[in-house]
């Protein structure tokens, strides 16, 4: 019972924050509501016994990505962009498409007969062993990708006259 209550509260913050992300008219608010959603998602991870992932979510996303996005909002404003989010183009059609996708996903989940096996938790120690033994190659490839993304971002955002 208490699990359902916790799940309801976390879902409320996650979905409420998400709804505000797509409707809010101030870009700073948009980014801060995204932080609310991401923290609630970290709570959902913690509820699913994925404590390591919850910690990473808070450190990486709400610590790093949100800060980066706030920087981008303010830098773009200085360059002539604006902090207002400038509204929506075709809200009704977008709402229709999103509603269809939600309906289809919901129908699939209901009909799909998801396996309801006994819950099993993967401990952080096991996760570390999985990452460094069978998944060592993707892990290293990922670090190369991150380096490439960083160099790409620097090249793209660099001033040409500097």
């Amino acid at each position: 019972m208490i699990d359902w209550l916790l799940f309801a509260v976390l879902s409320f913050f996650a979905l409420g924050g998400a709804a505000r992300v797509v409707t809010s008219e101030n870009l700073v608010h948009v980014v801060l509501y995204l932080a609310v959603t991401l923290i609630a998602t970290a709570g959902v991870y913690a509820q699913m016994d994925a404590g390591f992932l919850a910690a990473i979510q808070i450190l990486l996303y709400t610590g790093g990505v949100i800060t980066l996005m706030l920087f981008a909002v303010l830098l773009a404003r200085r360059n002539g962009g604006s902090v207002p989010a400038e509204g929506h183009t075709s809200p009704l059609r977008s709402l229709l498409v999103a509603g269809l996708v939600a309906g289809l996903s919901g129908y699939t989940i209901l009909r799909g007969g998801a396996p309801n096996r006994a819950p099993e938790a993967l401990s952080t120690a096991e996760l570390g062993r999985v990452l460094l033994d069978p998944l060592a190659l993707p892990f290293e490839a990922l670090s190369v990708l991150l380096l490439a993304a960083m160099i790409g971002a620097i090249v793209l955002a660099r001033r040409k006259d500097a």
């Binding site: 797509v22 980014v31 981008a72 962009g81 999985v130 793209l156």
Partner: protein, 102 residues
């Protein structure tokens, strides 16, 4: 009746994905579009962790971790592009990027 099962988490992720899709389709501002893409990626991650938790495959969490890092790389490049666009076009309206059309 114990705690929420796989279905509950899948519904949460589906709802978040649909909200993010609405944002991607309807937002005019490029930064708001990127933030909405974040929502969709986050929903996919909830699915991965849920499937891992309810015994489909224990590597789901590792995959979610990889997806998290990939999303961060995507955000970094996306934000650099946004700053570049704001510098060259003077605005962040997605509709102002029609140089190839004209």
């Amino acid at each position: 009746m114990t705690g929420p099962g796989l279905d509950a988490y899948l519904f949460l992720a589906a709802a978040m994905f649909a909200i993010g899709l609405f944002g991607v389709l309807s937002r005019r501002n490029l930064l708001a579009v990127i933030v909405s893409v974040e929502l969709m990626a986050n929903a996919a991650n909830i699915n991965l962790v849920a499937f891992s938790r309810f015994g489909v495959h224990p590597w789901g969490q590792a995959l979610a971790l990889f997806a998290l890092a990939l999303t961060v790389a995507e955000v970094v490049v996306g934000l650099a592009l946004v700053i570049l666009v704001s510098r060259t076009h003077g605005s962040l309206l997605a509709g102002s990027l029609r140089d190839l059309k004209e």
